[in-house]
Symmetry: C2
Subunit: 230 residues, 2 copies
DNA sequence: CCCGCCTGTTACACACTCTTACAATTCGTC
DNA sequence: GACGAATTGTAAGAGTGTGTAACAGGCGGG
């Protein structure tokens, strides 16, 4: 959900200057002032089947976006970090669920208002388009990881992606702001395999694990990238 | 790539009626008249790294959109059927490759022209947005299949999806317009497992295979859907 | 018409990952 | 600071899926 980092404020601001000949005066409307919701760990932002009344922008924490099979198996589609938008779509119902992995904050936006404005504001519509394009790229990348890579390659790819996404280039440390089970459900592995693999990487000297298993130091980023088979 | 079935002609036609205050007269331009390209089986539409000069709309046949790892492993992201758009994105280079699985025809459209028009035409931009949303939904669905389902569930899910996508509700037959290796690379399995699983489904009486393994009759669609764990 | 190539199928041994069970750690509470 | 519950980590057997390889069938070229 990398590109979902659009600045909605500026998008709607420019939208106000557009003029259309198709009679859509709704372009003049501003997005209603957004409210912020605080979430505790494991609390849901929305669930599959809920009315899609709102779209959310992550402000703090991490939100896991996932889908569950009838028998309970869960596939996490993406982790959303601050700046990312979740809940975009074209249906009236959410087709995915979203829950915080750690205490988080999300900005709540009216889905109807956002999409009404986009109908006449090409810039906003294009921003939404590009956001979803980035999200698509991330999902494809995960699909390749899950479809083709081995357990160790998956974990390495995850760590590298997490590093690119959350850490500055200078820092070689990533914060695992989620449980082993979340990582397992993202990568299509089990908790135990994730655990084993992290231990193996530590034994190999590629990473170091601290703070009760939540903080990972990437000792050898080049090796890690290589192991990920990127 | 289901929703990529947008009617570009109408989109650009309505685009001609828009008026914008930001000085973008490019909205007046029409999309250059599209040329049609014929492809033989296995011929590439574009490759990863190619300049993204064109976007393509499938007219006939099936196009496999895929990505390869450095060591040659291949993950097919999606099969594109007539009406689907391929090559959309935000970068100047293609990040994926696309090749025909059977003799096909694609309409070639200028990517630059399409995206230039979208900059001032909210309707076209919104259509692109919705197209990518549908593509995203399909990719997510595949991710769940590959990440969580067993071999037999994957094959069943593939057959059900193919049926929904290509066959009318009345017909219980699907045409496998691709090789076993293509299905394997889509589902994250090996050729052998795909072959074994299809045989198993035939033995179970759920499907029947005809025409040299290219045509599959879904004898028990309910059972098939159940086996897919949808 | 025969031959060779490509694709698809089947068999078997192995490797990987999963399941189960148990140990260790962390966190909340007293 | 200590206890107990919940979560996480580790170890060993079980199962699934994979790779190798051999064989069958279809298609096109010689």
């Amino acid at each position: 959900m990398f590109a979902a980092q659009l600045d909605l404020t500026s998008a709607t601001a420019t939208g106000m200057h557009n003029r259309h000949g198709d009679g859509s005066s709704v372009a003049e409307q501003r997005l209603p002032s957004a409210t912020v919701r605080r979430l505790i760990a494991k609390e849901h932002v929305f669930c599959e089947g809920d009315d899609r009344e709102q779209v959310f922008q992550v402000e703090e924490g991490v939100i896991a976006v996932y889908k569950t099979l009838p028998d309970g198996r869960r596939q996490i589609i993406d982790f959303a970090y601050p700046g990312d938008l979740i809940g975009l779509g074209i249906l009236d119902e959410h087709v995915l669920s979203a829950q915080a992995t750690v205490p988080s904050k999300v900005k709540c936006l009216s889905a109807a208002a956002l999409e009404r404005i986009a109908e006449s504001d090409a810039r906003l519509a294009l921003k939404l388009y590009k956001s979803v394009c980035h999200e698509l790229a991330a999902t494809r990348s995960l699909l390749i990881t899950v479809g083709q890579r081995s357990a160790i390659e998956r974990v390495c790819a995850f760590l590298v992606a997490l590093h690119r996404r959350t850490a500055g280039a200078e820092s070689a440390t990533v914060d695992l702001a989620m449980r082993r089970s979340d990582i397992a459900d993202l990568l299509g592995l089990t908790i135990e395999t994730v655990s084993r693999t992290l231990t193996k990487l530590r034994t190999m000297g590629v990473i170091d694990i601290a703070q009760g298993g939540t903080r990972v130091q990437l000792c050898d980023l080049a090796r890690l990238t290589d192991l990920a088979n990127e």
